[in-house]
């Protein structure tokens, strides 16, 4: 009987302790509205997650200084998504069901964001994506509560492929990180390059968080491309460029990469391998654009570092707050309706407008050549030219094949 009582006591203590832990995260204050910041806080995409948090913080500080939203002080609840779908879903559920957030910004990894989209759809919460770029988000996975101001793979391909073929070379090798984001970029760039008459001489994917890329270098050298297009991000990009440089391949091939390949903050440390690299970016602190400069100044004043592409998170909070004020409600259906077609000034790239059909912000993009660790603007692509037709519900990769079509 003693043992029975003891066991019952253990179960009770565990339950009560767990409840206390869960309860510890909640706040009893009234007139507070919570928003969720879900992203990678450690690991391969740590830089993006932490910078996105800073951008959200800046937006919330500005809004709270003016009285918050609908008279509510905004509070940020930050969670680490572990860069994996499983933890992302668990944390998204925690943010929505436990913390009752009215806006969820995140995640960083495309695979995680895709998984979180199911959660925000199910629980009807406004979901803003400012970093992930897989093409399924505004097509097959799209839902009415999802919004994005991160140019997705299709937009990036439309923006960069023509420049590559016109200025850099016709024979392109695509090397991508083998998960949602990289596969998406690989598919869209292959499609765009081939459509414009270029030749894809080889494609290869390396797993996320690969430590040694050299096993793939032999195949790249064998095909001898004019351009080596790389679709990686975070510490993967740092390692890849360092290793390519040590093999002499950054000098041998012209190189180009995607929007999130490296953050500005990383460039000085890897200036030599990155010299001459052409990168697509929708934001750079080195762009003379007055809106970008104005945003970068206040970001730098607040955090002591330059802003970057993850500052789209700042816009997400501002868009949501504007929509809430417009409809005088936190109701997700009303806010979603208000966000459709909404335009906003003063974002990190100036004025932005959300396209009603697929909730994608129409955004100009810029091409930069990296010189001595800095982005030097070389071209601008209008958002209207790169965004492409809305494809909600349609398969964006229908008929796609990784097969290499040899040109004679």
């Amino acid at each position: 009987m003693k043992r029975t009582l003891w066991l019952a006591m253990v179960v009770t203590v565990l339950v009560v302790a767990s409840l206390a832990l869960v309860g510890g995260g909640t706040f009893a204050q009234s007139k507070v509205v919570k928003i969720g910041d879900l992203g990678s806080k450690v690991g391969v995409f740590e830089g993006y997650g932490k910078q996105a948090t800073m951008a959200i913080q800046l937006a919330v500080e500005e809004l709270n200084a003016k009285g918050g939203v609908l008279g509510h002080k905004i509070e940020i609840i930050t969670e680490d998504d572990d860069t994996k779908p499983g933890p992302s879903v668990r944390k998204a559920e925690k943010l929505i069901l436990q913390d009752d957030v009215k806006l969820l910004v995140g995640a960083v990894s495309s695979g995680a964001t895709l998984a979180v989209m199911d959660v925000t759809k199910k629980h009807k919460v406004i979901h803003w994506n400012a970093v992930s770029c897989a093409e399924f988000m505004r097509t097959t996975k799209f839902h009415k509560y999802y919004f994005s101001n991160q140019p997705d793979s299709r937009m990036q391909a439309n923006g960069l492929a023509k420049y590559i073929l016109d200025k850099m070379g016709k024979r392109v090798y695509i090397f991508y990180t083998d998960y949602a984001m990289g596969q998406s970029d690989g598919r869209q760039f292959k499609t765009a390059i081939e459509k414009l008459g270029g030749e894809i001489v080889g494609v290869a994917g390396a797993p996320l968080d690969t430590k040694d890329f050299s096993p793939w270098f032999g195949d790249i050298n064998k095909t001898n491309p004019d351009v080596l297009f790389v679709a990686f991000a975070g510490t993967d990009s740092l390692r890849l460029m360092t290793q390519l440089h040590s093999f002499g391949m950054t000098k041998k091939y012209k190189m180009a990469g995607i929007d999130c390949f490296l953050l500005q903050a990383d460039l000085p440390a890897i200036a030599e391998p990155m010299e001459g690299f052409v990168q697509l970016n929708h934001f750079s602190p080195y762009n003379p654009d007055k809106d970008m400069q104005a945003f970068n100044a206040k970001y730098k004043n607040r955090f002591g570092t330059d802003a970057n592409i993850t500052s789209g998170s700042y816009d997400g909070v501002k868009f949501w707050a504007a929509a809430v004020e417009k409809v005088k409600s936190f109701d997700a259906d009303k806010v979603s309706a208000a966000l459709e077609g909404m335009c906003l000034d003063g974002t990190h790239v100036g004025r932005q407008c959300i396209r009603k059909a697929d909730h994608q912000v129409v955004m100009d993009m810029h091409l930069y050549r990296i010189e001595k660790g800095k982005n030097v603007p070389i071209a601008k692509i209008a958002g209207s030219d790169s965004i492409g037709e809305p494809m909600v519900g349609k398969d964006p990769v229908e008929g796609f094949s990784w097969e290499i079509k040899k040109k004679k």
Binding site: M1, T4, G86, R90, E93, K94
Partner: protein, 312 residues
């Protein structure tokens, strides 16, 4: 009713009442789902580790295969719970039979390595096969159904599903270890040569317990997509197997109940600590080191600590 059965009944009744505890949220019920599922898997592994003396580093593969079996069916519109479970039994059973056949032919570290290698092969296959969604797995799955017209959609339904499975798995394990078969397993753990000398077909016993443990883990995996709506290769990665082993150790090896507590404790600790600290695994590591050093019998061994303190 025997005292052990009475105790189990009290504990399961307390768990059944959990959804009605004041302040219980849907999120906490989902967290309880994860905790009990992890605990069930740890208990299944305890059959091997605690009772047979075999350490498997490949249980994540059984778990992941079960999850994928369900995910493949749900993705194609086959949402029946019994069908998903039956399909998982077939898939995991076939794989487990192959692994068990080869792995049980070796002992100790070689058994552990073979289970790890098989699991890594399975992980790599799923990681690179686009039919199964590659590295992103199969996502956006619809709700499963208890039977036609009754979907498993609420947090409470999901909680009772996993609780029901925990009860089932516990009864299976308890009956097994109390049987002659279970005593032979303990004999194998204590002295394999002597068990063989006494005429027992040691490898056959090890194979059978390996497959049973794998099936119980695979069925837990089959339930997971009904809560998460996805199955990804991350479920099969070797670190997941490591977490199962840790759960067994911190709960109390060779006790069945201990690993359930260990798995639940590990899940809740990971979830809560990661909400407050970025490098949460360092904190978790320190807690685990403390448990191993101070409570070598695991959390279940805390009774002795209390008893000693009281006596002192």
């Amino acid at each position: 009713m025997r005292p052990g059965e009475y105790r189990a009944l009290v504990v399961f009744a307390a768990l059944a009442a959990l959804p009605f505890v004041p302040g219980m949220s849907r999120y906490y019920l989902l967290l309880a789902f994860d905790a009990l599922l992890f605990g069930t898997i740890a208990m299944s592994l305890d059959l091997l580790m605690g009772y047979t003396g075999l350490v498997s580093f490949g249980h994540a593969a059984f778990y992941g295969l079960g999850a994928y079996a369900t995910a493949v069916l749900l993705e194609r519109g086959y949402t029946s719970l019994p069908l998903c479970l039956a399909f998982s039994i077939v898939v995991v059973g076939l794989y487990a039979a192959v692994v068990a056949y080869f792995a049980t032919a070796r002992r100790g570290i070689y058994f552990a390595l073979l289970t790890l290698i098989f699991a890594e092969v399975i992980y790599t296959i799923f990681r690179y096969t686009q039919t199964f969604g590659g590295s992103d797995g199969i996502q956006g799955l619809p709700d499963a159904h208890f039977w036609p017209g009754v979907p498993i959609e609420t947090a409470m339904q999901k909680y009772y599903l996993v609780l029901g499975y925990l009860v089932f798995a516990y009864v299976v394990c308890r009956v097994l270890v109390a049987s002659h078969f279970g005593r032979v397993l303990v004999a194998i753990r204590e002295n394999e040569e002597r068990a063989r000398f006494l005429g027992y077909d040691v490898q056959r016993y090890k194979m059978v317990v390996c497959v049973i443990s794998a099936l119980l883990t695979g069925l837990a995996g089959a339930i997971y997509p009904m809560r998460s709506a996805f199955a990804t290769p991350d479920l099969m990665v070797w670190t997941e197997s490591g977490e199962f082993i840790i759960s067994v150790m911190i709960g109390g090896i060779g006790t069945l109940v201990g690993p359930i507590i260990g798995g639940a404790f590990f899940t809740i600790l990971r979830d809560k600590v990661s909400s407050y600290v970025d490098w949460y695994f360092i904190v978790i590591g320190l807690v685990l080191i403390f448990i191993v050093l101070v409570m070598p019998k695991g959390l279940l061994g805390i009774r002795r600590l209390f008893r000693r303190t009281v006596e002192a």
